[in-house]
């Protein structure tokens, strides 16, 4: 059988080390479907990212992607981090209320957050405070609406079974 699908990227020691390093900040640290999940407040995100990147035992020097998920009553910004030195993974999930779609930008921590945040803004309307340039990236100038949101409807593909 293959070594694939059921890889676990989190161990008890890693969880304990992460909790120790994050110290006083109000977070919830627990396994999230094979990766270590960190749920935190949106005001703490930059400090958490800095700590996780610079600490030598955790050393999350590779930001994989920043995704935005629209849960209708609120939105979630999900950061996937990975460490190349230790081969560990962390998922940071931050809840952003729909009335106030603002969150601090992590571009000062990783320069690779640049276009991911611009795309999140284009498609969902989330504003990343502190980003130098929020002009449209993949949509044309003057596009109305935010296509990624659930409220922007597009037709559904025909299926002949199931739902």
């Amino acid at each position: 059988m293959s070594t694939d699908n059921f890889n676990q990227y989190t161990t008890e020691e890693f969880e304990a080390a992460t909790r120790a390093v994050l110290g006083n900040i109000k977070v919830t640290v627990e396994p999230n479907f094979g990766e270590l999940g960190v749920v935190c407040d949106r005001s703490d995100i930059v400090s958490i990212c800095k700590i996780l990147k610079q600490d030598t035992d955790i050393s999350m020097e590779y930001l994989r992607s920043i995704s935005v998920v629209d849960w209708v009553e609120h939105m979630e910004v999900v950061y996937h981090l990975s460490s190349i030195r230790h081969m560990n993974r962390i998922v940071i999930k931050v809840v952003v209320p729909i009335e106030d779609l603002k969150i601090d930008s992590v571009i000062t921590v990783w320069s690779g957050a640049d276009w991911h945040e611009r795309e999140g803004h284009d498609l969902f309307g989330v504003e990343f405070v502190g980003h130098p340039d929020m002009s449209p990236l993949i949509l044309y100038e003057g596009f109305e609406g935010f296509p990624g949101r659930k409220s922007f409807e597009i037709p559904v593909q025909e299926t002949f079974y199931g739902d």
Partner: protein
């Protein structure tokens, strides 16, 4: 009579910076990509990349299709390495549904994935030679690609958009005579690879044009999230097939070529050596190919349980990631985010190109080997 040449310098003349547009339609931009360059004489001062000319809304479209139908969308993302894209997507759904895949299917996937990697690198070789100004490489590169595509046509029915991988295995078994055909193909590929290598690798013109150009140090490359051959050329040993093995890669013996300077020549060399390694992998897999079923036990209508899963794989261009959010029990995903390697690789363009000559701008862009389909999705 002796004439003396004098250099006339006019202190009052000023030159202004020139802003030019290398527009969406350009023979050397590898697709619909637009760069606005600010030049001071021959030197590039700043570069602003503009993307979005191929944004087709694949991520939103997946929310309206069921899990079987999304494979066709993934084919068209990075349209040169179709099998590798499909592979990462079906692995994401298999992880969500915890499906076990039979060995024969795994080996078939590896063989086809590696053949696609060879085809993709031959295309890079051809178009990179064309960017530099050589006409022969593109002919040789495509000659080898045609051979590989003929084999793909025998397996899946199409030269390019295969739609062959399924959740749990592959769609149907290999045709008769596949194994001798692969052996014959590998013989041709080895000769083609030697032809290709002999033209450019030690050519003085090529080395002058690529060595020392567009170098990036390892920390900066990781900071931008660059992966794939560009990262390995800078010296960082990160190949997902070795570092975080999936499928049967941990049973196969191959090495990962690394560069040292991180410049365009190293990126070219890493890709050429990867062709050699892929040939080695395919030879081992064809020997080990067992008999057996090609589909694991999976229900006909796919309804993954609730959860979110991030699965990644080593594409020829880097680390393709799929973030699947499933709200439990539905036939369609709730959210599917695609992390394209060329999207992150392209972010590093600014720091590579600033300060370079205008004539080197196409060389640097070509060495990144971007495909606009996965930049814009």
């Amino acid at each position: 009579m002796e004439t003396k040449a004098t250099v006339i310098r006019d202190e009052n003349s000023e030159t202004a910076e020139l802003r030019i547009n290398m527009g969406p339609q350009h023979p050397a931009t590898h697709g619909v990509f637009r760069m606005v360059l600010t030049l001071d004489g021959e030197r590039v001062v700043t570069v602003e990349p503009h993307i979005g000319y191929l944004h087709r809304g694949s991520e939103k479209l997946t929310e309206g299709e069921n899990f079987q139908q999304i494979t066709t969308l993934f084919d068209r993302l990075d349209y040169i390495s179709n099998f590798n894209n499909e592979w990462v997507y079906v692995r994401a759904v298999e992880r969500a549904m915890e499906v076990e895949i039979p060995e024969r299917a795994e080996f078939i996937r590896i063989i086809l994935g590696e053949l696609n990697r060879i085809a993709s690198h031959f295309l890079f070789y051809g178009t990179y030679g064309l960017d530099i100004g050589a006409m022969n490489p593109v002919m040789i590169g495509f000659r080898e690609r045609e051979r590989i595509q003929a084999l793909f046509e025998g397996v899946s029915g199409a030269r390019m958009m295969h739609n062959y991988f399924r959740v749990g295995g592959v769609k149907e078994d290999l045709p008769e005579g596949f194994v001798p055909a692969v052996y014959a193909l590998l013989e041709h590929l080895k000769k083609g690879y030697e032809d290709a290598r002999d033209i450019l690798t030690e050519s003085e013109i090529f080395i002058e044009r690529t060595a020392g150009i567009g170098a990036l140090d390892p920390e900066k490359t990781l900071d931008y999230g660059v992966t794939g051959p560009v990262l390995r050329a800078a010296g960082v040993d990160y190949d997902i097939r070795k570092a975080d093995p999936y499928s049967m890669y941990s049973d196969i013996d191959f090495s990962v070529p690394l560069g040292s300077h991180g410049d365009c020549y190293d990126r070219y060399m890493v890709r050429m050596l990867e062709i050699e390694q892929s040939i080695k992998i395919i030879e081992q897999c064809v020997k080990k190919l067992p008999d057996g079923p090609i589909q694991g036990k999976v229900s006909r209508i796919l309804r993954p349980p609730e959860g979110d899963f991030f699965v990644h794989g080593e594409n020829p261009r880097g680390d393709l990631g799929v973030y699947l959010v499933s709200s439990g029990g539905t036939v369609r995903p709730y959210r599917l985010k695609i992390r394209g390697p060329s999207f992150s690789n392209l972010m590093a363009l600014k720091s590579m190109m600033e300060g370079a000559y205008l004539a080197d701008s196409t060389v640097i862009l070509g060495s990144l080997d971007i495909v606009l389909g996965e930049v814009d999705r």
